[in-house]
């Protein structure tokens, strides 16, 4: 089991980068999060998490193309690393094991 534990927003960002599969950059990640979980995310919050995840070795990035709409600036595309994939699997297993441990009566609808 990995030593590093993901924060809630870190997990969302990592999952979204995995969903976008090579097409993940700042704006596309924000839009995907807005569509899938209806959560507004600021660019500042997202970029902070992206830099942290890259520093931890859970993401890697490379520059893409520049477009006119971006003022001639290039996109930075993010991809999940094998360490990132492993930590996502570990996190999922933890969640599933916690869900499975809840007695059936607790979640029974009244």
């Amino acid at each position: 089991m990995s030593q590093y534990h993901l924060g809630e927003f870190e997990e969302i960002v990592l999952l979204t980068v995995a969903i976008l599969d090579g097409k993940a950059y700042g704006i596309s990640i924000i839009e995907e999060i807005e569509v899938r979980i209806e959560r507004n995310v600021s660019l500042g919050a997202l970029q902070t998490v992206l830099k942290r995840l890259e520093e931890k070795g859970l993401l890697r990035s490379e520059f893409g193309e520049a477009t006119k709409v971006r003022g001639g600036k290039r996109k930075r595309f993010y991809e999940i690393t094998s360490k990132g994939r492993q930590i996502l699997r570990d996190t999922k297993e933890q969640r599933v094991s916690l869900w499975n441990a809840i007695p059936k009566t607790v979640l029974k609808f009244s």
């Binding site: 950059y25 700042g26 704006i27 924000i30 600021s42 660019l43 500042g44 919050a45 970029q47 902070t48 830099k51 942290r52 520059f63 520049a66 477009t67 709409v69 971006r70 003022g71 600036k73 290039r74 996109k75 930075r76």
Partner: protein, 174 residues
């Protein structure tokens, strides 16, 4: 008549370029421009400009800003370190003054008049200049910290008195 160009506020683009770490300035600036374009299409130019300002202010955080040498431009031959520090102090004071201005656009609980801004601006300016004077005249770090701390403490007392009137002077606010 020539239509006005749809561009984000220049002042905040410059502010972003000033504080952002040069290592990731390109991609974040591109994201900012792209989000501005999206906002402009969805909400119109006026709201897009405010949302752009909000995004820039939310980017002003430790993970994004450059190191202190970059911010103060210490290695530049154009600006001496003293002038760089003075400009940094003034920029910080202006930045603090912008916070209520921005907050007023999003919340009715912040409602400053022009007089409030003038008074706060004068207070911040005098505090900043006094701190700069102390840093230029006082040589030891210990004394600098004590005197600058006292200046900031007095600033906070005056502010509190003007805002809510803790001493009950003639200038006390309600």
């Amino acid at each position: 008549m020539k239509p006005t160009e749809d561009k984000p506020p220049k002042l905040f683009v410059k502010f972003f370029r000033w504080f952002c770490n040069t290592d990731f300035q390109e991609e974040i600036e591109g994201d900012l421009f792209e989000s501005y374009k999206n906002y402009s299409e969805r909400f119109g130019k006026k709201k897009a400009k405010w949302l752009f300002i909000k995004e820039v202010l939310f980017l002003f955080r430790p993970a994004i800003i450059g190191n202190i040498n970059q911010l103060m431009n210490i290695n530049s031959t154009i600006m001496s370190s003293k002038n760089g520090r003075l400009i940094a102090i003034m920029a910080t004071m202006m930045g603090l003054l912008i916070i209520p201005l921005i907050a007023m656009q999003f919340s009715k609980e912040v409602n400053w008049s022009i007089f409030d801004f003038v008074v706060m601006g004068a207070l911040l300016l005098s505090t900043g200049l006094l701190c700069e004077l102390v840093l230029r005249k006082v040589k030891t770090t210990r004394n600098r910290i004590i005197i600058c701390g006292a200046v900031v403490f007095i600033f906070l007392l005056v502010w509190a008195e003007l805002a809510v009137g803790i001493f009950g002077t003639a200038f006390a606010g309600t």
